[in-house]
């Protein structure tokens, strides 16, 4: 019964964090090996636990394995700390630990010349993984929130990894410090909303355990009392998702977070952090589906984010930022899919409804593989050329063959090129969104609009990914920074190759059982993940016979071809086009639609502005009154100055005045009370 040892899965990376933190200083490699072994053990154990959960007859009805310990018990409320394993947890912990392990291996090469800082790096990434695993295995919302915040802190520390003693100088150090702060504060805004959501749930349910909250009878009881409370809680939880998964309008921290090492970006974008938000929506599905309006809102936020973020990737010159925007955009896809599926369930539409859930979670897994791959490839390029500016790259195809081919695979996959992993999940998502339009009665035109936005996003995704690929690897002429570039060491290329294989084949998991594991059902009065989903054959048939599949493939191909003509044959001259006059649209994209300014403005007005006012009131009004009263009592500023000299004889006056006043007050009070009795 290996499942009983599942608590070791987050515990082992936590131990790795402690060991690296305590003993990493003396070693040359900063104990990277310990971090890798920690992740490896967590991965192996995740596999074993998942295998047992998925094969053991005891869990054949998809009920979770739950182990709870009492954490805190006050009055009638008991808060637990435990683990909750169902197929969603299995999927999350397997791919998180697997990808993290590969990233750690890659980091050994990538962070080679970081000296003493390696200890800090490997300690923090181990904690990051431990927190993420704890998050997905938590058995209640409070525990989930605890790990959710620790994930946030780890990202703060890692984004700010170079916030002092930056190898590229002071300017970069300042930027890293700012980016880390921004990431923490923006996601924190979402986090406090989750906290409010927890209060609402705890109040109406009297518990935060998943097992209690996902019980149909309990939900119905609460809905009968006040249907708005679950809706409110869902929206508040979704506020946290908007922060963590960088959805519109709290998306702007993620591009800035590129100030950290590239491996950290890979971790944040693929294995941890931003995936936590999507996971939370999938996990809280039983609550979210109680209201179609909530689900519509979720889908709209997702769709808007997908399109909106994709536009900003179109003209960005920084290789990592292009990837950052693409992550935001892809996360939008996932959220949109979950929203569309939930909308159908909430509108009481039967079998079609499972598609949204399946496709959203499925895309999260596929995205984890190809996004980790893309970031690590980008890291390999940056490692070789020493810059993130794509205008200074070009023609790297020959010098870095492995990187260029693996990155091509990643780009094709994210662009939805047929038969690669991204193709399957993206088409399922679009189908789910389309079902949101024509699957309900009357038809909902919002979903038609979202569907069109999804198609446009698919086109833009293909375009900007290949723009990036051609600018980096394509072209006959090499960019100015590529002279000494060469392929990265084995510790970096091997993870790339493994991830590239995953990016090709992970989509086929859908046809070997994933369709029945990652679906949403109500079995025996409990909402569970798993159960009968769309059959593999029907999914295949749906995708291949659907006209929209061919449309989305076609727009993706057009995007790739357009990028080829615009960027592959570019010479040195047109490449360096930063001095050219740009149109309004171009500048607006560069300014990120003014969001950074908006955030700063809010912080300046609501934080610093009011703070200045408070400070003024404090000094002049409140403290002024205090000093004024004391001056009046001791007779003007002259005695005040003498008072400050500190001689004891001056205090005598004080004490006398004080005593007289007090006796007067005393008499008055006693007189008053005496009268009142």
């Amino acid at each position: 019964m290996i499942i009983e040892y599942a608590w070791l899965i987050p515990f082992i990376p936590l131990m790795a964090f402690i060991i690296v933190g305590l003993f990493g200083k003396k070693t040359k490699g900063g104990l990277g090996s310990v971090a890798i072994i920690g992740a490896l053990l967590a991965f192996v154990l995740s596999l074993l636990v998942s295998y047992e959960y998925l094969t053991d007859a005891a869990y054949a009805d998809h009920l979770p394995y739950v182990l709870d310990l009492e954490w805190l018990s006050i009055g009638s409320v008991t808060l637990n700390f435990g683990i909750y394993i169902d197929s969603l947890t299995c999927l999350m912990m397997v791919f998180s630990s697997f990808i993290s392990m590969l990233i750690f291996v890659y980091s050994v090469g990538y962070m080679k010349d970081q000296g003493q800082k390696k200890r800090r790096y490997f300690a923090e990434v181990s904690l990051f993984l431990a927190a993420m695993l704890g998050l997905v295995m938590a058995s209640n919302f409070l525990e989930m929130f605890i790990f959710w915040e620790i994930v946030g802190v780890c990202s703060y520390l890692l984004i700010g990894f170079w916030s002092f003693e930056h190898p590229e100088g002071d300017e970069a150090a300042d930027n890293a410090a700012k980016a880390a702060k921004k990431a923490f504060l923006v996601t924190r805004l979402g986090d406090v909303m989750i906290m409010a959501g927890l209060f609402v749930l705890l109040y109406v349910f009297g518990s935060l355990d998943y097992t209690t909250l996902f019980d149909v009878a309990n939900i119905d009881a609460v809905m009968n009392q006040d249907p708005n409370m679950i809706m409110l809680a869902s929206l508040l939880l979704f506020g946290g998702v908007i922060g963590k998964s960088a959805q519109f309008p709290l998306h702007d921290w993620l591009p800035d977070a590129m100030a950290g090492p590239t491996t950290v970006s890979a971790l944040i974008h693929a294995a941890t952090m931003v995936k936590a938000g999507v996971y939370l929506v999938a996990r809280s599905y039983p609550l979210f589906i109680q209201s179609a309006d909530v689900m519509l809102f979720v889908a709209v936020i997702g769709g808007v984010t997908a399109l909106f973020a994709a536009t900003m990737a179109l003209n960005n010159m920084n290789i990592k930022r292009v990837l950052a925007y693409s992550t935001i955009s892809q996360l939008g896809y996932m959220i949109m899919a979950l929203g569309a599926g939930g909308y159908l369930i909430a509108s009481a539409v039967g079998v079609e409804s499972a598609m949204g859930y399946t496709s959203g979670v499925f895309h999260m897994m596929n995205h984890a593989f190809f996004k980790a791959l893309l970031f690590l490839c980008a890291g390999s390029v940056i490692h070789a050329v020493g810059t993130e500016d794509m205008r200074r790259m070009g023609g790297l195809r020959k010098k870095m063959p492995i990187t260029s081919i693996t990155m091509l695979i990643g780009s094709l996959s994210i662009a939805g090129f047929p038969l690669l992993s991204g193709f399957w999940s993206k088409d399922l998502i679009l189908e789910a969104v389309f079902a949101g339009y024509n699957g309900v009665d009357p038809v909902n035109y919002v979903f038609l609009l979202l569907f069109i936005m999804g198609i446009i996003t698919a086109f833009m995704t293909a375009f900007y990914m290949f723009r990036m690929w051609y600018m980096t690897f394509g072209g006959r002429t090499a960019g100015p920074a590529t002279e000494h570039a060469h392929e990265s060491p084995k510790s970096m290329t091997v993870p790339l190759l493994i991830l590239a294989v995953c990016a090709i084949i992970s989509g086929y998991a859908l046809f070997v059982g994933l369709n029945d594991l990652i679906t949403f059902n109500e079995i025996g009065g409990v909402y569970v993940v798993g159960g009968l989903g769309h059959s593999a054959a029907s999914i295949l048939e749906d995708i291949l016979t659907n006209i929209w599949t061919y449309v989305s493939v076609a727009v993706a191909l057009i995007g790739i071809i357009l990028a080829y003509f615009m960027y592959s044959r570019r010479s040195e001259k047109t490449r360096g086009s930063q001095d050219r006059e740009h149109g309004f649209l171009y500048n607006m994209l560069t300014a990120r639609y003014g969001f950074p300014k908006l955030y700063d403005g809010i912080a300046l007005a609501g934080g610093y502005g009011i703070a200045k006012g408070v400070d003024y009131v404090d000094r002049q009004v409140i403290d002024g009154t205090v000093n004024g009263i004391s001056n009046a009592i001791v007779g003007g500023s002259e005695s005040m100055r003498r008072m400050q000299t500190g001689y004891v004889r001056n205090y005598a006056g004080f004490v006398i005045v004080g005593v007289i006043l007090l006796v007067a007050v005393l008499c008055a009070v006693f007189y008053f009370i005496g009268g009142g009795l």
Binding site: E70, W71, L72, I74, G75, V77, L142, I146, E149, I150, V153, L157, G160, S163, F164, E165, D170, E171, D174, A177, K178, A180, K181, F184, L185, R188, L189, V192, M195, A196, L198, F199, V200, L202, Y203, A603, G607, Y608, A611, V614, D615, D618, I622, D623, V626, S630, Q644, T645, G646, Y651, F654, G658, L662, V665, L666, V669, F670, I673, G676, L677
Partner: protein, 502 residues
């Protein structure tokens, strides 16, 4: 024979020892010279600390520890030397014992160390006395005893404006405690009148008679006592003595002031006001909530504007003590339990914060945030403690502050749901954002970013061994109680006040 009677035999007055050991220590320290003063004071505070921890570990029934000796009994006035502990007292006694020892280890006072460490020990006597007293007269005497060493600590060992700050501290809090004294007299004599003539100052006698207080009397006397305690906490707008006192006080003074002395205020509100005046508390409840919310938000905003790191931390104390008051004002089991939890949590966390501030001033030479920057490169250990302390203070889950804040905010939510105004929870949540904001911003400007050129950092040193050890102990406790909060709530479960709640 239980384990307890082997380790702590019953016929020895253990609680009195908690007062006498530091008192003797203070007298001996006074005549010591040079570094010996520190070692002697350290020895005595260590013994006191161990003794206070033994109460935690080996006492099954806290009520068996109480001591009661008649002291004055003339002309219808009865005053006794009565000591006793319940869950809340025990927690504060343990915190006092721990922190006095730790600041003794932490401090390296070169000038007149004998006076410095003697003051620390006398302060410990007063603090222990306040938290253990079971007689209002004794309580008041001990309350005043804490005032004097703190006054001298600031005015002898403080910064440039120490005289102004120390006098302000002394007069402000002294006036407040005199008003509190009026409240105590009113309460005791009224209780005496109700129960047959003898004005008995003991807690037990007053509680027994408290049921007979009229509502009008309760409202008035609650107000007097509340004012006395609230100034000590402090709450806005009676807080201005605190930032001044903190800025000028030496690190050891600041730590004890913020970590245990401020708690005397909230302790008093719980022990005296809430326990005895249920009707008064209900009448004052809206006022307390408003004051608490104002303190929380006002303190947080004031932090953002501060340039002195230590003054920022001082204002953060006001904000966090507002949280304590909010919990108390809920008058519910959750609220009070987590208010007490927050007193303990804030005690541990704020000690780290003030020590970090002390190291900044001591090692770098200035605490002005605009002059600092990029210190993490030169002082990695210091930066680590600062990050940890700030994260703990902004309520990071997994650390002790989160448990307290979560509990208080949830009890506030419960209250709001009762009166159908749940949207007001946004005010408290806003304070969480502001708190995260000022800490993050402060870190960005002090330890991160480019290394400052405005201060000469060539000679700057990281934390020394003693400082590191002390901070590690505190951080470990912050993690321990954050991960296992039931260690604290189990102790608090025996707090007497939870028994009198409706």
């Amino acid at each position: 024979m239980s384990l307890f009677s082997w380790i702590l035999p019953e016929n020895i007055p253990w609680l009195t020892l908690l007062l006498i050991i530091p008192l003797i220590g203070a007298m001996i320290t006074l005549v010591m010279k040079g570094r010996n003063a520190k070692y002697v004071a350290g020895g005595f505070s260590l013994v006191t600390m161990i003794l206070s921890f033994m109460l935690f570990l080996f006492v099954d029934d806290l009520s068996t520890m109480s001591e009661n000796i008649a002291w004055i009994d003339v002309m219808g006035v009865k005053i006794s030397y009565a000591l006793g502990i319940d869950g809340l007292s025990l927690l504060m006694v343990g915190l006092t014992g721990l922190l006095v020892f730790l600041v003794t280890v932490f401090s390296t006072e070169k000038e007149r160390p004998n006076l410095f460490f003697a003051m620390l020990l006398i302060m410990e006597v007063g603090l222990m006395g306040v938290y253990m007293a079971q007689d209002y007269f004794l309580f008041y005497v001990m309350w005043e005893v804490t005032l004097i060493p703190m006054y001298f600590m600031i005015s002898w060992f403080g910064g440039p404006r120490r005289h102004y700050a120390s006098i302000k501290f002394f007069i402000y809090t002294h006036v407040a405690s005199l008003i509190m004294l009026i409240g105590i007299f009113a309460m005791v004599f009224q209780a005496g009148a109700l129960s047959g003539g003898t004005a008995d100052f003991s807690f037990a006698a007053v509680s027994a008679a408290a049921g007979g207080f009229t509502e009008m009397f309760q409202i008035l006397v609650f107000g007097l006592l509340f004012f006395g305690f609230a100034v000590k906490m402090p709450v806005v707008p009676f807080h201005t003595w605190l930032p001044d006192a903190h800025v000028e006080a030496p690190t050891a003074g600041s730590v004890l002031l913020a970590a245990v002395m401020l708690k005397m205020g909230s302790y008093g509100i719980i022990r005296v006001c809430i326990e005895n005046f249920q009707l008064g508390a209900e009448w004052w409840q809206p006022v307390m909530i408003v004051i608490a919310l104002v303190s929380i938000l006002y303190g947080a905003w004031a932090c953002i504007a501060q340039k002195d790191l230590k003054k920022m931390v001082a204002f953060s104390s006001i904000s966090h003590m507002g949280m304590v008051l909010l919990g108390i004002a809920m008058l519910s089991e959750w609220g009070l339990m987590f208010a007490m939890f927050q007193m303990f949590a804030h005690g541990l966390i704020t000690a780290v914060l003030f020590m970090v501030c002390g190291i900044t001033g001591h090692n770098v030479g200035t605490r002005e945030i605009p002059l600092l920057g990029g210190l993490a490169g030169k002082m990695p250990k210091y930066a680590g403690f600062m990050v940890f302390g700030f994260l703990a203070s902004l309520g990071l889950p997994g650390l002790v502050g989160f448990v307290a804040e979560f509990g208080i905010m949830y009890s506030f939510y419960e209250y709001l749901a009762g009166v159908d105004m749940i949207y007001l929870i946004a005010l408290v949540l806003l304070s969480l954002m502001l708190t995260a904001g000022y800490y993050m911003w402060a870190m960005q400007r002090t330890i991160f970013g480019r290394e400052t050129k405005k201060v000469d950092l060539s000679e700057v040193k990281d934390t020394n061994r003693a400082e590191t050890a002390v901070l590690v102990v505190l951080c470990a406790l912050i993690v321990l109680f954050g991960v296992m909060p039931s260690l604290v709530t189990d102790v608090l479960g025996s707090a007497a006040v939870l028994g009198v709640l409706p």
